[in-house]
Each structure stands twice: as C-alpha cells, then as structure tokens.
C-alpha cells in the first residue's frame, strides 16, 4: 500500500458504503454500514470500519470524496461526485467501454451508458416510483410474509412462470394478494417479483455494449442477474464489489484529482 490513500464514501438511502484505494489505485478495502437517519454519523462509522479493515491510519488518507444521495451532507468529505459519475468510474475499474451500467439500489435504479473512451454519454434514473428497485422487493417480501433475506432462497423453488402485470408497487401488492388467494405458490410469486424488477429496469433505456450490473439488489439477489442475463441475451458482468462500486468510483475520482489540496470543482463542495 502506497500513501497517500484515497477514500470514497457512497451514502445511499439504505446503506453507506466506503472504499479505500492507494496512490497506485489498488483497492485496499471496502465497508458497508446501515445509513439510518444520521447520514453524517453513518459516514463516520463506514470510514472507521474501512480504516480498520485496511489496517490504515487516518493520517495516511490524502482525500475523502463522497457520492450518493447524501453526498452533500458528509462533513468528512472534501468534494463529491454524483453517483452517476461514481458508478461509471467504478465499473470502468473492471471493464473497459463501451458499456452499460445497470445499477439497482434500495430506492432507485439507473442505467448509465459509457463510450469506448470511458466517457459517460447518457444516464436515466428511475425514482418516480419504487418499481424496479429494492423497495419493491421489500414490499413483495412483506406480501409473501418472508423476511427479505429469505426471498432469494424462496424464489429458487419456483416452478411456474407468473407475470405480474401492474406498474405501480401498490397495485402489484394487490395483484400478489389476489394471486395468493387463487392458490399460487409463494415461490413462484417471489420469482415473478424478480422478473418484474428486471422488466421495469430494462424498460428505462436501451442497453448497449458490455453490461455491468451493480448495486445492493444485485449483490444480495443473484436471481436478478440471472434474469437480466436471460432477458438481455448476453453476459452480465458483476464486479467483485457490486454494492460498493460507487464508493470505489469516487475514491478513484479523488485519486485522479491528485493531491489532497486539489480544489473541488465548483458547486460540488458539500
């Protein structure tokens, strides 16, 4: 590990992720903690956990940059980038462009297109409703009366293909209750919920080039990747740390900006 080190903190709606890279850009460690209601506190906890995992000291860290929805509320951070930039940058650490990043998080999904030179060319975010996000899966787990952590195992038992037709989460909840009354199996409905997430996400934007899947939902619900692969008809690459990819990306951005004294781009100061 060559100092100075660079830390990235990705403050998401459910979890705060952190990543540490060294002066050569090598990834040293990552950490994930619950965000809760205290964004600044969560970022402190994630950073402390990160240092302990890497066996590094605070004064070895040259710069801390933030990303994610809480990026402007992290006193630790010297500058920030949007999660769009960070996810693209993070994915590019593993795969070169042209590529499409499909990020599925707790509250949002995004599709980011990157060209052959590694430049971001467009993005789409879906936050008008919970469809196609982790919140939707939580709601479905509630309807099926299983903890969210058991949804993947339940879906593995699926035998029948069921299509959920509703667009909004509330309507889908009602639809699922109706199907349960009709005697449909929870396992089949669990798999249908995953299929619905994939369908909503792919309706957002056309995917081009290599496909990289990231985000907490991708990390914890492997069936999403399976169904994505089937729907797209080609390989879906999952990087080593799909959930922490934004934190990796923003740590890399901090490193690329160079010296810790580098002035933050206008308007990005938290």
């Amino acid at each position: 590990m060559r100092a100075p080190l660079y830390a990235g903190i990705d403050c998401g709606s459910w979890n705060t992720k952190a990543a540490l890279v060294d002066a050569d850009g090598a990834l040293l460690a990552t950490a994930v903690v619950r965000t809760g209601a205290d964004v600044a506190g969560a970022s402190e906890r994630a950073f402390a956990e990160l240092l302990s995992r890497a066996g590094a000291a605070r004064d070895q860290v040259g710069a801390i940059w933030s990303t994610g929805f809480g990026r402007h509320a992290i006193p630790l951070a010297g500058a920030s980038r949007t999660e769009l930039d960070s996810h693209a940058r993070g994915a590019l650490q593993y795969v070169s462009g042209p590529l499409t990043v499909i990020d599925i998080g707790g509250q949002d999904a995004k599709i980011i297109l990157v060209d052959a030179e590694g430049r971001r060319i467009s993005h789409k975010m879906n936050r008008k409703c919970a469809a196609g996000t982790g919140s939707f899966l939580e709601e479905m787990a509630l309807r099926l009366d299983v903890p969210i952590g058991q949804l993947p195992a339940l879906a593995r038992d699926a035998k029948e293909e069921i299509e959920l037709g509703s667009f909004c989460t509330v309507f889908t909840g009602t639809e699922v209750l109706g199907l349960i009354r009709q005697g449909k199996r929870p396992a089949d409905l669990a798999r249908a919920a995953y299929r619905s997430v994939v369908k909503r996400v792919l309706e957002m934007e056309r995917v081009e080039g290599k496909v990289v899947a990231t985000g907490g939902v991708v990390a914890h619900h492997p069936m999403v990747v399976e169904l994505l692969t089937k729907a797209i008809g080609r390989e879906v690459i999952v990087p080593r740390n799909p959930q922490e990819i934004g934190a990796v990306g923003v740590a890399v951005a901090a490193r690329e900006a160079g010296a810790p004294s580098a002035e933050a781009p206008a308007g990005r100061t938290p």
């Binding site: 769009l84 930039d85 650490q93 971001r120 206008a266 308007g267």
Partner: protein, 420 residues
C-alpha cells in the same frame, strides 16, 4: 473549500418591470370592480389583439397560474380543484387557479386583490391545449358569462393556407360576441394598431432573448421567465414596448462589455418544457453554482410571433398562432430545436417532462433520442411539473443535473482496468 457565487447578476430594469406589472393588475381589478371597462380573460397566445382593439382590460390566467406556482400557493390551492373532480393528472395551472378561486387565496393579494378579477367574457385558443377551454368553461358557468374562442389545429406539419383561412373565419365569427359584450364596434384602424404593437413587442422580446446568444450569455432562462411577463400580459400595449427597449439596452450593454448573467460560464444549456415555477430560484442557484448558463428555451421563445403583420391583421394573427412550436408536429419541432441549439451555441439539452402538461413536454415521442443522434449532443430528461411540486424531487433533479454537467466536463479517457 471553494464557495462559488451562486446568483445571477440583477437587472436594473427590474424596477420598471415591477411597476408595469403592478399597474396592470391594479387596472384590471379596478375595471372589474367598478365596471369602468369590459374585462376579458384570454389565453396567453391570444387572440388578445381583438380584445385590446375593443377596449377590454385583459387578464391572463396562465400568468396567474405561474404566480401561484412561483409563490408556492399553488400547492395549497390545487387540492380544492381535485376534490371538485379536476384530476391531479391535468394541467396544474388549471387546478391551482380554480383552487385559488374556491379558497379566495391568491398571490395577487399583494396588489390588494382577494381573487383573480371577474370577467365579462373569456376568450380561448386551443392551439396550445384543450385544457384552456375546460378551464374557462368553469368560470363561464360560475359567472354566467360567454366563453368563446378558436378551436385550433394541433400537431401541424407545415402551416397551410387552408389552416389559416379556417382560423380567420373562426376569429371573424367571434367578433359579434366580443362587440356585444364590449358595447362597441370593432374599428379596423384600432385592430391594426393593436397588432402593430404586439408585433413590436414580439420583435423586441426576440431581440432580448437573442442577447443570450453572446458568450457569455447576457440573460438566462431563469431571468427570462420573469422578464417575459409583459410579453404575455401586456402584449399590444405601449408600456410593454417601452419596457423591452429599456431591458434590451441594458442587456446590449452587458454584451458590449463582455459581461454575462453568471460570473463564470463553462457550459451552455437549452431548456425545453415548462419552468418548475416553485423551484425557479433553487434551480437558478444550482446551475449558477455549476457555472452553467441555461441560455435559451422553447418556453421563453413561445411569445415570439414572427408572422404578425398590421397590414393583414386577422390572417397574420391566425398564422402566428398556428406557427407556434406548441401547435406543431414532431418534425418541425425537431427542426426548430436544432436551429436553436446552433443559434445559441448550446452544449447540451435538458427536457423537462412536466407531469401535468403533456402539451409542453417534448420528451414523450423519442425527441431527446433523435436530437442526441442528429446533433451528437448530450441530452437529459428530468421529471417534474410546472406547479405541482409533489411531482418534483429536489434530490433527483439535483443529481440528474449535476451528473449531466459532470458529463459535459468531458472527462479525458479514463485509466484502463486496475482491479480486473
């Protein structure tokens, strides 16, 4: 930590703007209360010239809608209209205005008014949408007054003679009702004069907007939405023309001195769609903080009426109303946007997909994707609404816009895979 200046340079002519806007509201209100002149409500794209020629005091409810939105009173009033059966999915100008009437709550209270002024007649043109007609008919029923107007063509490719003739005939048919309510005959010379003033106002407004073509831009979209007040509600009056001469001189000075509306301009953006009235200041601050000028918009240019010609009043009014962007089909709209992008040397285009106004939302039939292809420019669509802030997410808009500007920063090619 850098602390960028995040506001636009103020305009000295704004004081005059406030005066003439206030005089307008007070004037219409007095006419309505004291019956000193007939009062009409009119859609923002006309045909106001007929009303002016007949001596009407004219009130523009879309402007009232914008004031309700900008003051955020809209979010308090809309609910009453929803409860009356006007859906949250239709024009939030309409719902916030009808709610304002029902609750007797209006930002016009600063001019001593408790409601928008009662009209003797309402005059619409559906070239922009059907909503205006339904909106006016609510008041027609409330006040038992005539609601008349032009049922226009929409989605027009090229404006044909037959289109123009049909609108002229409808305008001619309106005249007897407008005369009866006004209690006077339409005078040809007064109509010509009214069209001449509208034309002059429109030309001056176009020149004002053109100062944003300079680098740096002398005016931004956010300032433009405020400065365009007279082009909407005082078009056809001497006051509007005088004001725009003053504003134009001030902006031309800026251009001459190489001064921009923003302290620093790294990027130039075109805005398509409605303003998000309740977030105008926040968005202006966000863009200023990113050193990005929103230099031109479809919206502010909608009050440029190229075709008006005092020598040919009704046909030119008809043609002007038909040639407007909002009344056109995708093909001419795309040509228009491409022209604007070139004229204003734009780096990227933002489409505001306004939940309750499909008529002013141009991201729903593949336009952003086509523009990206033909112009090779970055485009972004953000979700929001003109007045209904429940449809707008601060955080989502901010991330989208900041992310878009990061994209424009045109980062150098990234380093190859490090952890593969």
């Amino acid at each position: 930590m850098a602390s960028p200046r995040t506001s636009e340079a103020p305009l000295a002519s704004s004081a005059r703007l406030k005066e003439i806007m206030a005089a307008h509201f007070v004037g219409v209100d007095r006419a309505s209360r004291e019956h000193t002149a007939p009062v009409a409500w009119c859609t923002s794209v006309g045909p106001v010239e007929l009303l002016r020629a007949l001596g009407y005091q004219v009130f523009f409810p879309e402007n009232h809608g914008a004031l309700l939105g900008a003051s955020r009173v809209a979010n308090e009033t809309m609910g009453s209209a929803h409860a009356l059966g006007y859906s949250p999915d239709i024009c939030s100008y309409l719902t916030s205005d009808i709610g304002s009437y029902l609750q007797k709550r209006t930002p016009l209270s600063r001019y001593g008014m408790s409601t928008a002024p009662r009209a003797d007649l309402l005059l619409y043109n559906t070239n922009q949408c059907r909503e205006v007609k339904d909106w006016f008919e609510f008041y027609g029923r409330e006040w038992n007054v005539p609601v008349v107007g032009v049922t226009s063509f929409r989605e027009i490719g090229e404006v044909q003679r037959s289109h123009v003739d049909a609108i002229v005939r409808q305008m001619e048919d309106l005249v007897p009702t407008l005369e009866a309510v006004a209690g006077r005959k339409l005078d040809a010379a007064r109509l010509e004069e009214s069209v001449a003033r509208s034309k002059e106002c429109s030309d001056l407004w176009r020149e004002v907007l053109a100062t944003a073509a300079a680098r740096p831009a002398a005016l931004t979209f956010f300032d433009g939405t405020i400065q365009m007040g007279p082009a909407v509600i005082l078009r056809g009056t001497v006051e509007a023309c005088d004001f725009y001469r003053l504003l134009l001189a001030e902006l031309q000075e800026r251009v001459k001195g190489g001064k921009g509306a923003l302290p620093r301009e790294r990027f130039r953006i075109y805005w398509d769609g409605m303003p998000v009235w309740g977030k105008l200041r926040d968005l202006a601050t966000l863009f200023a903080g990113l050193d990005t000028s929103v230099v031109a918009s479809t919206y502010c240019n909608s009050w440029v009426f190229e075709a008006l010609d005092p020598r040919d009043p009704l046909p030119s009014m008809a043609r002007a109303s038909l040639e407007l962007f909002i009344a056109r089909s995708e093909e001419p709209k795309q040509r228009y946007l491409e022209r604007m992008v070139r004229q204003f040397s734009v780096d990227g285009v933002i489409f505001h997909d306004s939940r309750t106004c499909p008529n002013n939302s141009n991201a729903r039939f593949g336009m952003p994707q086509r523009l990206r292809r033909t112009l090779g420019l970055p485009v972004l669509t953000i979700d929001g609404d003109l007045n209904d802030l429940r449809c707008f997410s601060d955080e989502q808009a901010r991330t989208n816009i900041e992310g878009f500007v990061e994209q424009l920063e045109g980062q150098a090619p990234r380093s190859p895979a490090a952890h593969a």
